[in-house]
Amino acid sequence: MLKVNVVKKLGDFFLQVDMEIGRGLTVLLGPSGCGKSSLLNLIAGLLHPDSGDITANGQVFFRSRSGRPQVLPIHRRRVGYVFQYPTLFPHLTVKENILYSTRAKDVPQQELEQLLDILRIKELVDRLPAQISGGQAQRVALARALVSRPQVLLLDEPFSALDNFVRHKLRRDLVKVLKHYNIPAVFVTHDLVEAITLGDKIAVMDEGRILQYDSAHKVFSQPAGRKVARFVGMRNIYTGRVVDVVPRQSVTVKGEKFTVEMDYRPVRIGQRVVFGIRPENVLYLRPERDQRPKENTLEVTIVSVFPQGAQYQLLLRATADVYDVEMLLPRHVVEKRNLKPGDRCRISLPRESLHLIEK
Protein backbone atom coordinates (compact mmCIF):
# COMPACT_ATOMS: atom_id res chain seq x y z
CA MET A 1 0.00 0.00 0.00
CA LEU A 2 1.37 3.35 -1.09
CA LYS A 3 0.10 6.48 0.63
CA VAL A 4 0.79 9.87 -0.88
CA ASN A 5 -0.34 13.15 0.62
CA VAL A 6 1.77 15.95 -0.77
CA VAL A 7 1.89 19.57 -1.83
CA LYS A 8 4.50 20.78 -4.27
CA LYS A 9 4.72 23.99 -6.24
CA LEU A 10 5.35 23.26 -9.92
CA GLY A 11 5.82 26.29 -12.10
CA ASP A 12 2.54 28.19 -12.05
CA PHE A 13 0.39 25.62 -10.26
CA PHE A 14 0.45 23.47 -7.14
CA LEU A 15 0.60 19.71 -7.21
CA GLN A 16 -1.83 18.73 -4.49
CA VAL A 17 -2.47 15.04 -4.17
CA ASP A 18 -3.87 12.85 -1.43
CA MET A 19 -4.32 9.26 -2.52
CA GLU A 20 -3.82 5.66 -1.49
CA ILE A 21 -2.59 3.25 -4.11
CA GLY A 22 -3.17 -0.43 -3.54
CA ARG A 23 -1.85 -3.53 -5.27
CA GLY A 24 -2.39 -3.90 -8.98
CA LEU A 25 -2.03 -1.42 -11.77
CA THR A 26 -3.18 2.14 -11.22
CA VAL A 27 -3.12 4.43 -14.23
CA LEU A 28 -2.40 8.13 -13.80
CA LEU A 29 -4.14 9.73 -16.76
CA GLY A 30 -3.82 13.37 -17.69
CA PRO A 31 -2.64 15.85 -20.31
CA SER A 32 1.07 16.63 -20.59
CA GLY A 33 2.26 19.04 -17.97
CA CYS A 34 -0.48 18.16 -15.47
CA GLY A 35 2.04 16.97 -12.90
CA LYS A 36 1.68 13.22 -13.28
CA SER A 37 5.38 12.60 -13.95
CA SER A 38 6.26 14.91 -11.09
CA LEU A 39 4.11 12.78 -8.83
CA LEU A 40 6.13 9.70 -9.84
CA ASN A 41 9.34 11.61 -9.17
CA LEU A 42 8.09 12.56 -5.72
CA ILE A 43 7.36 8.92 -4.93
CA ALA A 44 10.74 7.79 -6.26
CA GLY A 45 12.59 10.55 -4.41
CA LEU A 46 13.93 12.26 -7.51
CA LEU A 47 11.95 15.29 -6.35
CA HIS A 48 10.90 16.37 -2.87
CA PRO A 49 7.49 17.75 -1.88
CA ASP A 50 7.17 21.15 -0.22
CA SER A 51 5.24 19.40 2.50
CA GLY A 52 3.38 16.20 3.11
CA ASP A 53 3.82 12.50 3.69
CA ILE A 54 4.77 9.60 1.47
CA THR A 55 4.80 6.09 2.89
CA ALA A 56 4.97 2.63 1.35
CA ASN A 57 3.88 -0.35 3.42
CA GLY A 58 4.36 1.75 6.53
CA GLN A 59 7.91 2.79 5.62
CA VAL A 60 8.33 6.55 5.56
CA PHE A 61 9.69 7.87 2.24
CA PHE A 62 9.09 11.50 3.11
CA ARG A 63 7.55 13.25 6.07
CA SER A 64 7.49 16.94 6.81
CA ARG A 65 8.35 17.89 10.34
CA SER A 66 9.25 21.13 12.01
CA GLY A 67 12.77 21.79 10.77
CA ARG A 68 14.22 19.41 8.24
CA PRO A 69 11.85 16.86 6.73
CA GLN A 70 12.49 13.16 7.14
CA VAL A 71 13.71 11.89 3.76
CA LEU A 72 14.58 8.35 2.78
CA PRO A 73 17.31 8.44 0.09
CA ILE A 74 16.28 7.19 -3.36
CA HIS A 75 18.46 4.09 -3.29
CA ARG A 76 16.83 2.84 -0.08
CA ARG A 77 13.22 3.28 -1.21
CA ARG A 78 13.01 0.11 -3.30
CA VAL A 79 11.00 1.69 -6.08
CA GLY A 80 11.30 0.26 -9.56
CA TYR A 81 11.26 3.04 -12.14
CA VAL A 82 10.77 2.58 -15.88
CA PHE A 83 11.43 5.81 -17.75
CA GLN A 84 9.81 7.10 -20.92
CA TYR A 85 12.98 6.49 -22.90
CA PRO A 86 15.07 3.40 -22.24
CA THR A 87 17.75 4.14 -19.69
CA LEU A 88 19.80 1.00 -20.13
CA PHE A 89 23.46 1.46 -19.26
CA PRO A 90 25.08 1.57 -22.71
CA HIS A 91 28.40 0.10 -21.54
CA LEU A 92 26.82 -3.00 -20.02
CA THR A 93 25.23 -6.02 -21.71
CA VAL A 94 21.54 -6.77 -21.30
CA LYS A 95 22.36 -9.34 -18.66
CA GLU A 96 24.66 -6.96 -16.76
CA ASN A 97 21.91 -4.35 -16.94
CA ILE A 98 19.31 -6.70 -15.50
CA LEU A 99 21.63 -7.78 -12.69
CA TYR A 100 22.84 -4.23 -12.03
CA SER A 101 20.85 -3.70 -8.85
CA THR A 102 22.48 -4.46 -5.52
CA ARG A 103 19.44 -6.59 -4.69
CA ALA A 104 19.58 -8.63 -7.89
CA LYS A 105 21.68 -11.33 -6.26
CA ASP A 106 18.79 -12.19 -3.93
CA VAL A 107 16.62 -13.19 -6.88
CA PRO A 108 16.50 -16.98 -7.34
CA GLN A 109 17.69 -18.24 -10.71
CA GLN A 110 14.32 -19.82 -11.42
CA GLU A 111 12.45 -16.57 -10.92
CA LEU A 112 14.93 -14.79 -13.17
CA GLU A 113 14.46 -17.36 -15.92
CA GLN A 114 10.71 -17.05 -15.68
CA LEU A 115 10.88 -13.27 -15.89
CA LEU A 116 13.09 -13.41 -18.99
CA ASP A 117 10.67 -15.90 -20.48
CA ILE A 118 7.55 -13.82 -19.96
CA LEU A 119 9.25 -10.71 -21.27
CA ARG A 120 10.77 -12.62 -24.21
CA ILE A 121 14.30 -11.34 -23.71
CA LYS A 122 16.14 -14.58 -23.02
CA GLU A 123 17.94 -14.52 -26.35
CA LEU A 124 19.15 -10.96 -25.85
CA VAL A 125 21.12 -11.33 -22.64
CA ASP A 126 24.56 -11.10 -24.25
CA ARG A 127 23.78 -8.14 -26.49
CA LEU A 128 24.56 -4.52 -25.83
CA PRO A 129 21.70 -2.01 -25.55
CA ALA A 130 22.66 -0.51 -28.93
CA GLN A 131 21.96 -3.87 -30.55
CA ILE A 132 18.33 -4.26 -29.47
CA SER A 133 15.13 -2.47 -30.51
CA GLY A 134 13.28 0.16 -28.52
CA GLY A 135 10.56 -2.27 -27.48
CA GLN A 136 13.10 -4.83 -26.38
CA ALA A 137 14.97 -2.15 -24.45
CA GLN A 138 11.83 -1.24 -22.50
CA ARG A 139 11.23 -4.91 -21.70
CA VAL A 140 14.80 -5.16 -20.40
CA ALA A 141 14.27 -1.97 -18.38
CA LEU A 142 11.12 -3.51 -16.90
CA ALA A 143 12.98 -6.71 -16.02
CA ARG A 144 15.80 -4.68 -14.48
CA ALA A 145 13.33 -2.74 -12.33
CA LEU A 146 11.54 -5.91 -11.17
CA VAL A 147 14.78 -7.71 -10.36
CA SER A 148 15.64 -4.93 -7.92
CA ARG A 149 12.83 -6.27 -5.69
CA PRO A 150 10.72 -3.11 -5.66
CA GLN A 151 7.90 -2.58 -3.21
CA VAL A 152 6.39 -0.12 -5.72
CA LEU A 153 6.74 -0.06 -9.50
CA LEU A 154 6.58 3.30 -11.29
CA LEU A 155 6.19 3.53 -15.06
CA ASP A 156 6.44 6.94 -16.73
CA GLU A 157 4.83 6.64 -20.19
CA PRO A 158 7.15 3.73 -20.87
CA PHE A 159 5.61 2.76 -24.20
CA SER A 160 4.80 6.16 -25.65
CA ALA A 161 7.90 6.31 -27.84
CA LEU A 162 7.12 2.95 -29.48
CA ASP A 163 5.00 2.21 -32.50
CA ASN A 164 1.44 1.01 -32.07
CA PHE A 165 1.95 -2.68 -32.71
CA VAL A 166 4.86 -2.99 -30.28
CA ARG A 167 2.96 -0.94 -27.73
CA HIS A 168 0.05 -3.39 -27.75
CA LYS A 169 2.34 -6.35 -27.23
CA LEU A 170 4.17 -4.62 -24.41
CA ARG A 171 0.94 -3.79 -22.59
CA ARG A 172 0.03 -7.46 -22.63
CA ASP A 173 3.50 -8.40 -21.38
CA LEU A 174 3.25 -5.86 -18.59
CA VAL A 175 -0.12 -7.13 -17.39
CA LYS A 176 1.18 -10.70 -17.53
CA VAL A 177 4.36 -10.01 -15.61
CA LEU A 178 2.63 -7.92 -12.95
CA LYS A 179 0.47 -10.92 -12.06
CA HIS A 180 3.61 -12.51 -10.63
CA TYR A 181 4.57 -9.44 -8.65
CA ASN A 182 1.81 -8.50 -6.30
CA ILE A 183 2.89 -4.89 -5.78
CA PRO A 184 1.34 -1.48 -6.38
CA ALA A 185 2.24 -0.27 -9.86
CA VAL A 186 1.63 3.29 -11.04
CA PHE A 187 1.48 3.78 -14.80
CA VAL A 188 1.54 7.32 -16.16
CA THR A 189 0.02 8.00 -19.56
CA HIS A 190 -1.86 10.64 -21.53
CA ASP A 191 -3.36 8.00 -23.81
CA LEU A 192 -6.99 7.20 -23.01
CA VAL A 193 -6.96 3.84 -24.79
CA GLU A 194 -3.85 2.78 -22.94
CA ALA A 195 -5.42 3.80 -19.64
CA ILE A 196 -8.54 1.75 -20.31
CA THR A 197 -6.75 -1.37 -21.54
CA LEU A 198 -4.31 -1.40 -18.63
CA GLY A 199 -5.77 0.05 -15.53
CA ASP A 200 -7.61 -1.70 -12.75
CA LYS A 201 -8.05 1.81 -11.47
CA ILE A 202 -7.64 5.15 -13.15
CA ALA A 203 -6.76 8.45 -11.53
CA VAL A 204 -7.51 11.37 -13.83
CA MET A 205 -5.25 14.30 -13.17
CA ASP A 206 -5.22 17.91 -14.30
CA GLU A 207 -3.21 20.93 -13.15
CA GLY A 208 -1.77 19.09 -10.19
CA ARG A 209 -4.99 17.65 -8.82
CA ILE A 210 -6.66 14.26 -8.98
CA LEU A 211 -10.08 14.91 -10.50
CA GLN A 212 -11.38 11.37 -10.26
CA TYR A 213 -9.93 8.16 -8.86
CA ASP A 214 -12.14 5.19 -9.69
CA SER A 215 -12.35 1.91 -11.53
CA ALA A 216 -11.59 2.21 -15.23
CA HIS A 217 -15.21 1.46 -16.10
CA LYS A 218 -16.59 4.10 -13.77
CA VAL A 219 -14.24 6.82 -14.99
CA PHE A 220 -15.22 6.02 -18.54
CA SER A 221 -18.99 5.88 -18.02
CA GLN A 222 -19.49 8.26 -15.11
CA PRO A 223 -16.89 10.98 -15.40
CA ALA A 224 -16.84 13.28 -12.39
CA GLY A 225 -17.02 16.71 -13.90
CA ARG A 226 -16.62 18.38 -17.23
CA LYS A 227 -12.84 18.11 -17.45
CA VAL A 228 -12.81 14.38 -16.88
CA ALA A 229 -15.73 13.95 -19.27
CA ARG A 230 -13.86 15.76 -22.04
CA PHE A 231 -10.72 13.85 -21.26
CA VAL A 232 -12.40 10.45 -21.57
CA GLY A 233 -14.04 11.40 -24.87
CA MET A 234 -17.51 12.53 -23.79
CA ARG A 235 -17.54 15.51 -26.07
CA ASN A 236 -21.24 16.47 -26.02
CA ILE A 237 -21.69 18.38 -22.78
CA TYR A 238 -24.68 20.55 -21.85
CA THR A 239 -25.95 22.50 -18.88
CA GLY A 240 -29.56 22.47 -17.79
CA ARG A 241 -32.09 22.44 -14.96
CA VAL A 242 -34.00 19.48 -13.55
CA VAL A 243 -37.71 19.97 -14.30
CA ASP A 244 -39.17 16.63 -13.33
CA VAL A 245 -38.17 13.63 -11.22
CA VAL A 246 -39.99 10.31 -11.18
CA PRO A 247 -38.38 8.34 -8.33
CA ARG A 248 -36.60 5.16 -9.48
CA GLN A 249 -37.64 5.84 -13.07
CA SER A 250 -36.54 8.97 -14.76
CA VAL A 251 -35.27 12.49 -14.58
CA THR A 252 -36.21 15.21 -17.05
CA VAL A 253 -33.72 17.97 -17.67
CA LYS A 254 -34.51 21.14 -19.57
CA GLY A 255 -31.26 21.98 -21.23
CA GLU A 256 -30.26 25.28 -22.77
CA LYS A 257 -30.70 23.67 -26.17
CA PHE A 258 -33.15 20.83 -25.75
CA THR A 259 -35.02 18.92 -23.11
CA VAL A 260 -34.03 15.31 -22.41
CA GLU A 261 -35.22 12.44 -20.29
CA MET A 262 -32.63 10.23 -18.62
CA ASP A 263 -32.35 7.34 -16.17
CA TYR A 264 -33.20 8.13 -12.55
CA ARG A 265 -30.54 9.88 -10.46
CA PRO A 266 -30.98 11.31 -6.97
CA VAL A 267 -31.50 14.97 -7.91
CA ARG A 268 -34.01 17.65 -6.89
CA ILE A 269 -36.35 19.57 -9.13
CA GLY A 270 -34.90 22.96 -9.92
CA GLN A 271 -31.29 21.79 -9.50
CA ARG A 272 -28.75 22.98 -12.08
CA VAL A 273 -26.86 20.09 -13.67
CA VAL A 274 -24.33 19.30 -16.38
CA PHE A 275 -25.02 16.26 -18.54
CA GLY A 276 -23.36 14.65 -21.53
CA ILE A 277 -23.28 11.89 -24.10
CA ARG A 278 -20.45 10.30 -26.09
CA PRO A 279 -20.47 11.03 -29.83
CA GLU A 280 -20.49 7.29 -30.57
CA ASN A 281 -23.68 6.83 -28.51
CA VAL A 282 -25.75 9.34 -30.49
CA LEU A 283 -28.23 7.36 -32.65
CA TYR A 284 -28.95 8.12 -36.28
CA LEU A 285 -32.63 7.41 -37.06
CA ARG A 286 -33.18 6.00 -40.55
CA PRO A 287 -36.08 7.91 -42.09
CA GLU A 288 -37.83 4.83 -43.57
CA ARG A 289 -37.50 2.49 -40.58
CA ASP A 290 -37.27 4.30 -37.29
CA GLN A 291 -40.72 5.87 -37.34
CA ARG A 292 -41.89 4.61 -33.97
CA PRO A 293 -41.48 7.16 -31.20
CA LYS A 294 -38.06 7.18 -29.51
CA GLU A 295 -36.94 9.14 -26.50
CA ASN A 296 -35.06 12.38 -26.91
CA THR A 297 -35.39 12.70 -30.68
CA LEU A 298 -34.08 15.82 -32.34
CA GLU A 299 -34.49 17.27 -35.82
CA VAL A 300 -31.07 18.45 -36.86
CA THR A 301 -29.18 19.92 -39.79
CA ILE A 302 -25.80 18.49 -40.72
CA VAL A 303 -23.14 21.18 -40.47
CA SER A 304 -20.10 19.18 -41.52
CA VAL A 305 -18.92 15.65 -42.26
CA PHE A 306 -15.31 14.67 -41.53
CA PRO A 307 -13.87 11.27 -42.46
CA GLN A 308 -11.98 9.65 -39.57
CA GLY A 309 -10.80 6.32 -40.89
CA ALA A 310 -13.40 3.65 -40.26
CA GLN A 311 -15.98 6.21 -39.19
CA TYR A 312 -17.21 9.71 -39.89
CA GLN A 313 -17.54 12.57 -37.48
CA LEU A 314 -20.72 14.59 -38.08
CA LEU A 315 -21.38 17.97 -36.49
CA LEU A 316 -25.09 18.62 -36.15
CA ARG A 317 -27.11 21.76 -35.48
CA ALA A 318 -30.41 21.74 -33.57
CA THR A 319 -30.49 25.41 -32.57
CA ALA A 320 -28.90 28.58 -33.89
CA ASP A 321 -25.44 27.63 -32.55
CA VAL A 322 -22.53 26.69 -34.79
CA TYR A 323 -23.20 23.08 -33.87
CA ASP A 324 -24.89 21.34 -30.94
CA VAL A 325 -24.20 17.62 -31.21
CA GLU A 326 -21.22 15.60 -32.37
CA MET A 327 -22.06 12.15 -33.74
CA LEU A 328 -19.82 9.32 -34.93
CA LEU A 329 -21.21 7.06 -37.64
CA PRO A 330 -19.75 4.01 -39.38
CA ARG A 331 -18.40 4.76 -42.83
CA HIS A 332 -20.94 2.65 -44.70
CA VAL A 333 -23.92 4.46 -43.17
CA VAL A 334 -22.67 7.87 -44.21
CA GLU A 335 -21.73 6.72 -47.70
CA LYS A 336 -24.87 4.68 -48.37
CA ARG A 337 -27.14 7.51 -47.25
CA ASN A 338 -24.94 10.10 -48.92
CA LEU A 339 -25.09 12.33 -45.85
CA LYS A 340 -23.68 15.76 -46.59
CA PRO A 341 -23.70 19.24 -45.04
CA GLY A 342 -27.08 20.93 -45.28
CA ASP A 343 -29.10 17.68 -45.08
CA ARG A 344 -31.78 17.33 -42.42
CA CYS A 345 -32.02 14.19 -40.32
CA ARG A 346 -33.36 12.81 -37.05
CA ILE A 347 -31.26 11.62 -34.16
CA SER A 348 -31.94 10.18 -30.75
CA LEU A 349 -30.03 10.59 -27.49
CA PRO A 350 -30.71 7.22 -25.74
CA ARG A 351 -31.54 7.81 -22.09
CA GLU A 352 -29.15 5.11 -20.83
CA SER A 353 -26.26 6.85 -22.63
CA LEU A 354 -26.94 10.24 -21.10
CA HIS A 355 -24.83 10.88 -18.01
CA LEU A 356 -25.07 13.41 -15.25
CA ILE A 357 -21.59 14.89 -14.93
CA GLU A 358 -22.06 17.60 -12.33
CA LYS A 359 -24.83 18.18 -9.87
Binding site: A44, H75, G80, F83, H91, Y100, T102, R103, P129, A141
Partner: protein, 262 residues
Protein backbone atom coordinates in the same frame (compact mmCIF):
# COMPACT_ATOMS: atom_id res chain seq x y z
CA UNK B 1 31.52 19.92 -58.82
CA UNK B 2 34.94 20.58 -60.31
CA UNK B 3 34.83 24.10 -59.00
CA UNK B 4 34.00 22.83 -55.51
CA UNK B 5 36.86 20.33 -55.68
CA UNK B 6 39.31 23.07 -56.60
CA UNK B 7 38.03 25.32 -53.84
CA UNK B 8 38.38 22.49 -51.32
CA UNK B 9 41.61 20.89 -52.41
CA UNK B 10 43.88 23.84 -53.19
CA UNK B 11 43.45 25.70 -49.89
CA UNK B 12 43.68 22.39 -48.03
CA UNK B 13 47.04 21.69 -49.65
CA UNK B 14 48.33 25.17 -48.82
CA UNK B 15 47.21 24.80 -45.22
CA UNK B 16 48.82 21.37 -44.89
CA UNK B 17 52.10 22.57 -46.38
CA UNK B 18 52.01 25.55 -44.06
CA UNK B 19 51.95 23.10 -41.14
CA UNK B 20 54.31 20.50 -42.49
CA UNK B 21 57.14 22.49 -44.08
CA UNK B 22 58.27 24.26 -40.88
CA UNK B 23 58.03 21.00 -38.94
CA UNK B 24 59.99 19.27 -41.67
CA UNK B 25 62.59 22.05 -41.70
CA UNK B 26 63.68 20.97 -38.26
CA UNK B 27 64.23 17.38 -39.33
CA UNK B 28 65.95 18.18 -42.63
CA UNK B 29 68.96 19.53 -40.72
CA UNK B 30 69.00 16.72 -38.17
CA UNK B 31 70.77 13.40 -38.32
CA UNK B 32 70.88 10.59 -35.81
CA UNK B 33 74.51 11.16 -34.72
CA UNK B 34 73.90 14.83 -34.06
CA UNK B 35 70.70 13.95 -32.27
CA UNK B 36 72.37 11.47 -29.94
CA UNK B 37 75.34 13.77 -29.33
CA UNK B 38 73.13 16.69 -28.33
CA UNK B 39 70.89 14.47 -26.25
CA UNK B 40 73.92 13.69 -24.11
CA UNK B 41 74.39 17.36 -23.24
CA UNK B 42 73.05 18.38 -19.82
CA UNK B 43 71.11 21.35 -21.22
CA UNK B 44 69.08 18.86 -23.27
CA UNK B 45 68.61 15.81 -21.09
CA UNK B 46 68.06 17.77 -17.90
CA UNK B 47 65.37 19.81 -19.62
CA UNK B 48 63.81 16.66 -21.03
CA UNK B 49 63.66 14.99 -17.65
CA UNK B 50 62.35 18.13 -15.95
CA UNK B 51 59.66 18.56 -18.62
CA UNK B 52 58.49 14.98 -18.31
CA UNK B 53 58.26 15.16 -14.52
CA UNK B 54 56.60 18.59 -14.31
CA UNK B 55 54.11 18.16 -17.17
CA UNK B 56 52.95 14.77 -15.88
CA UNK B 57 52.63 16.14 -12.34
CA UNK B 58 50.61 19.08 -13.66
CA UNK B 59 48.38 16.75 -15.62
CA UNK B 60 47.74 14.57 -12.59
CA UNK B 61 47.04 17.64 -10.41
CA UNK B 62 44.64 18.98 -13.03
CA UNK B 63 42.85 15.64 -13.24
CA UNK B 64 42.55 15.15 -9.47
CA UNK B 65 41.43 18.66 -8.63
CA UNK B 66 39.64 19.27 -11.91
CA UNK B 67 37.39 16.19 -11.98
CA UNK B 68 35.32 17.13 -8.91
CA UNK B 69 35.04 20.73 -10.14
CA UNK B 70 33.98 19.55 -13.58
CA UNK B 71 31.36 17.26 -12.06
CA UNK B 72 30.06 20.15 -9.98
CA UNK B 73 29.82 22.36 -13.05
CA UNK B 74 28.17 19.67 -15.17
CA UNK B 75 25.67 18.35 -12.63
CA UNK B 76 25.33 21.09 -10.05
CA UNK B 77 22.44 23.52 -10.11
CA UNK B 78 23.35 26.75 -8.37
CA UNK B 79 23.31 30.48 -8.89
CA UNK B 80 26.17 32.00 -10.83
CA UNK B 81 27.17 28.74 -12.47
CA UNK B 82 27.61 30.48 -15.83
CA UNK B 83 29.98 33.01 -14.31
CA UNK B 84 31.94 30.33 -12.51
CA UNK B 85 32.32 28.44 -15.78
CA UNK B 86 33.67 31.49 -17.59
CA UNK B 87 36.04 32.08 -14.69
CA UNK B 88 37.39 28.55 -15.01
CA UNK B 89 37.89 29.03 -18.76
CA UNK B 90 39.67 32.34 -18.29
CA UNK B 91 43.25 31.02 -17.96
CA UNK B 92 42.77 29.31 -21.33
CA UNK B 93 42.48 32.60 -23.19
CA UNK B 94 44.74 34.64 -20.93
CA UNK B 95 48.21 35.51 -22.28
CA UNK B 96 50.73 33.39 -20.33
CA UNK B 97 52.59 36.56 -19.36
CA UNK B 98 49.52 37.68 -17.42
CA UNK B 99 49.46 34.31 -15.68
CA UNK B 100 53.15 34.81 -14.79
CA UNK B 101 52.48 38.19 -13.19
CA UNK B 102 49.40 36.89 -11.37
CA UNK B 103 51.28 33.92 -9.97
CA UNK B 104 54.19 36.12 -8.81
CA UNK B 105 51.77 38.44 -7.03
CA UNK B 106 50.18 35.43 -5.35
CA UNK B 107 53.07 33.11 -4.51
CA UNK B 108 55.94 35.63 -4.58
CA UNK B 109 57.79 36.31 -1.33
CA UNK B 110 55.51 39.28 -0.61
CA UNK B 111 52.57 37.84 -2.51
CA UNK B 112 49.04 37.35 -1.31
CA UNK B 113 49.74 33.80 -0.14
CA UNK B 114 53.52 33.74 -0.50
CA UNK B 115 54.14 35.92 2.55
CA UNK B 116 52.60 33.26 4.81
CA UNK B 117 54.50 30.34 3.31
CA UNK B 118 57.65 29.10 5.10
CA UNK B 119 59.40 28.35 1.80
CA UNK B 120 59.97 30.47 -1.24
CA UNK B 121 58.03 29.25 -4.24
CA UNK B 122 59.30 31.31 -7.21
CA UNK B 123 62.33 29.99 -9.09
CA UNK B 124 61.76 26.43 -7.92
CA UNK B 125 60.51 23.30 -9.64
CA UNK B 126 57.27 23.73 -7.65
CA UNK B 127 56.78 27.08 -9.40
CA UNK B 128 57.10 25.34 -12.78
CA UNK B 129 54.37 22.90 -11.80
CA UNK B 130 52.15 25.69 -10.46
CA UNK B 131 52.55 27.71 -13.66
CA UNK B 132 51.84 24.69 -15.85
CA UNK B 133 48.81 23.63 -13.81
CA UNK B 134 47.45 27.17 -13.87
CA UNK B 135 47.42 27.38 -17.66
CA UNK B 136 46.74 23.71 -18.42
CA UNK B 137 44.05 22.67 -15.93
CA UNK B 138 41.25 24.64 -17.65
CA UNK B 139 41.74 22.46 -20.75
CA UNK B 140 41.08 19.41 -18.64
CA UNK B 141 38.15 20.94 -16.77
CA UNK B 142 36.46 22.13 -19.98
CA UNK B 143 36.71 18.72 -21.60
CA UNK B 144 35.61 16.95 -18.41
CA UNK B 145 32.57 19.21 -17.99
CA UNK B 146 31.51 18.39 -21.52
CA UNK B 147 31.95 14.68 -21.12
CA UNK B 148 30.07 14.61 -17.81
CA UNK B 149 27.27 16.65 -19.36
CA UNK B 150 27.07 14.14 -22.22
CA UNK B 151 26.15 11.36 -19.80
CA UNK B 152 22.33 11.15 -19.67
CA UNK B 153 21.30 12.18 -16.15
CA UNK B 154 18.43 9.68 -16.39
CA UNK B 155 21.00 6.87 -16.37
CA UNK B 156 22.19 8.09 -12.97
CA UNK B 157 18.60 8.38 -11.75
CA UNK B 158 17.87 4.86 -12.95
CA UNK B 159 20.91 3.61 -11.07
CA UNK B 160 19.74 5.29 -7.85
CA UNK B 161 16.29 3.73 -8.11
CA UNK B 162 17.98 0.35 -8.52
CA UNK B 163 19.38 0.70 -5.02
CA UNK B 164 22.88 1.86 -5.93
CA UNK B 165 23.94 4.94 -3.94
CA UNK B 166 25.27 8.06 -5.63
CA UNK B 167 28.95 7.31 -4.90
CA UNK B 168 28.77 3.86 -6.50
CA UNK B 169 26.58 5.25 -9.30
CA UNK B 170 29.38 7.66 -10.15
CA UNK B 171 31.92 4.87 -10.44
CA UNK B 172 29.66 2.34 -12.18
CA UNK B 173 27.85 4.64 -14.63
CA UNK B 174 29.13 8.21 -14.88
CA UNK B 175 32.86 7.44 -14.86
CA UNK B 176 32.94 4.64 -17.45
CA UNK B 177 30.76 6.65 -19.83
CA UNK B 178 32.72 9.88 -19.54
CA UNK B 179 36.17 8.28 -19.45
CA UNK B 180 37.08 8.92 -23.12
CA UNK B 181 36.39 12.62 -22.65
CA UNK B 182 38.35 12.75 -19.41
CA UNK B 183 41.29 11.04 -21.07
CA UNK B 184 41.14 13.44 -24.00
CA UNK B 185 41.07 16.36 -21.59
CA UNK B 186 44.04 14.99 -19.67
CA UNK B 187 46.08 14.72 -22.87
CA UNK B 188 45.15 18.26 -23.90
CA UNK B 189 46.20 19.62 -20.54
CA UNK B 190 49.40 17.60 -20.61
CA UNK B 191 50.27 19.01 -24.04
CA UNK B 192 49.55 22.51 -22.83
CA UNK B 193 51.73 21.96 -19.75
CA UNK B 194 54.58 20.55 -21.85
CA UNK B 195 54.58 23.63 -24.07
CA UNK B 196 54.23 26.17 -21.27
CA UNK B 197 56.75 28.96 -21.70
CA UNK B 198 55.64 32.50 -20.78
CA UNK B 199 54.27 31.95 -17.30
CA UNK B 200 57.15 29.62 -16.43
CA UNK B 201 59.95 31.97 -17.42
CA UNK B 202 58.33 34.86 -15.53
CA UNK B 203 57.32 32.99 -12.40
CA UNK B 204 59.89 30.19 -12.18
CA UNK B 205 62.84 31.66 -14.07
CA UNK B 206 65.28 29.79 -16.28
CA UNK B 207 67.56 27.72 -14.05
CA UNK B 208 69.08 24.67 -15.68
CA UNK B 209 67.95 21.44 -14.01
CA UNK B 210 65.52 23.29 -11.75
CA UNK B 211 63.11 25.29 -13.87
CA UNK B 212 64.48 25.08 -17.40
CA UNK B 213 61.91 22.93 -19.21
CA UNK B 214 62.18 22.00 -22.90
CA UNK B 215 60.63 25.21 -24.28
CA UNK B 216 62.90 27.30 -22.07
CA UNK B 217 65.88 25.20 -23.15
CA UNK B 218 65.07 25.91 -26.81
CA UNK B 219 64.89 29.60 -26.05
CA UNK B 220 68.22 29.50 -24.23
CA UNK B 221 69.96 27.35 -26.82
CA UNK B 222 68.84 29.62 -29.67
CA UNK B 223 71.36 32.21 -28.45
CA UNK B 224 74.39 29.92 -28.37
CA UNK B 225 73.78 26.51 -29.89
CA UNK B 226 71.20 26.44 -32.68
CA UNK B 227 71.73 22.71 -33.22
CA UNK B 228 70.77 21.97 -29.62
CA UNK B 229 67.62 24.02 -30.10
CA UNK B 230 66.85 21.99 -33.21
CA UNK B 231 67.33 18.70 -31.42
CA UNK B 232 65.06 19.76 -28.58
CA UNK B 233 62.43 20.97 -31.01
CA UNK B 234 62.61 17.68 -32.92
CA UNK B 235 62.35 15.82 -29.66
CA UNK B 236 59.19 17.70 -28.68
CA UNK B 237 57.59 17.16 -32.05
CA UNK B 238 58.16 13.41 -31.94
CA UNK B 239 57.07 13.23 -28.33
CA UNK B 240 53.84 15.11 -29.00
CA UNK B 241 53.08 13.14 -32.13
CA UNK B 242 53.50 9.83 -30.32
CA UNK B 243 51.17 10.88 -27.53
CA UNK B 244 48.58 12.18 -29.98
CA UNK B 245 48.60 8.95 -31.98
CA UNK B 246 48.41 6.89 -28.81
CA UNK B 247 45.42 8.78 -27.44
CA UNK B 248 43.68 8.76 -30.80
CA UNK B 249 43.99 4.99 -30.68
CA UNK B 250 42.69 4.73 -27.17
CA UNK B 251 39.93 7.24 -27.82
CA UNK B 252 38.83 5.61 -31.03
CA UNK B 253 38.79 2.31 -29.24
CA UNK B 254 36.62 3.60 -26.43
CA UNK B 255 34.53 5.76 -28.75
CA UNK B 256 33.93 2.73 -30.93
CA UNK B 257 32.88 0.82 -27.88
CA UNK B 258 30.74 3.73 -26.72
CA UNK B 259 29.12 3.98 -30.14
CA UNK B 260 28.11 0.37 -30.39
CA UNK B 261 26.92 0.62 -26.79
CA UNK B 262 24.61 3.49 -27.54
Amino acid sequence: MRKLQAVVIVPSLIMLLFFLVPLGAIFVNLDLMLFLAKLAQPIVYEALWLSIVTSLTSMILAAFLGTPLAYLLARGDFKGKVYLESLVDLPMVLPPAVAGVALLLTFGRNGLLGRYLPWSIPFSTAAVIIAQTFVAAPFFVRSAVNSFAMVDANLEKASLTLGVDSWRTFWRVTMPLSFPGLLGGAVMSWARALGEFGATIMFAGNLQGVTRTLPLAIYTAMESDLQAAMVIAGLMIMFSLLVLIFTRRVLRLSRGVAKCLR
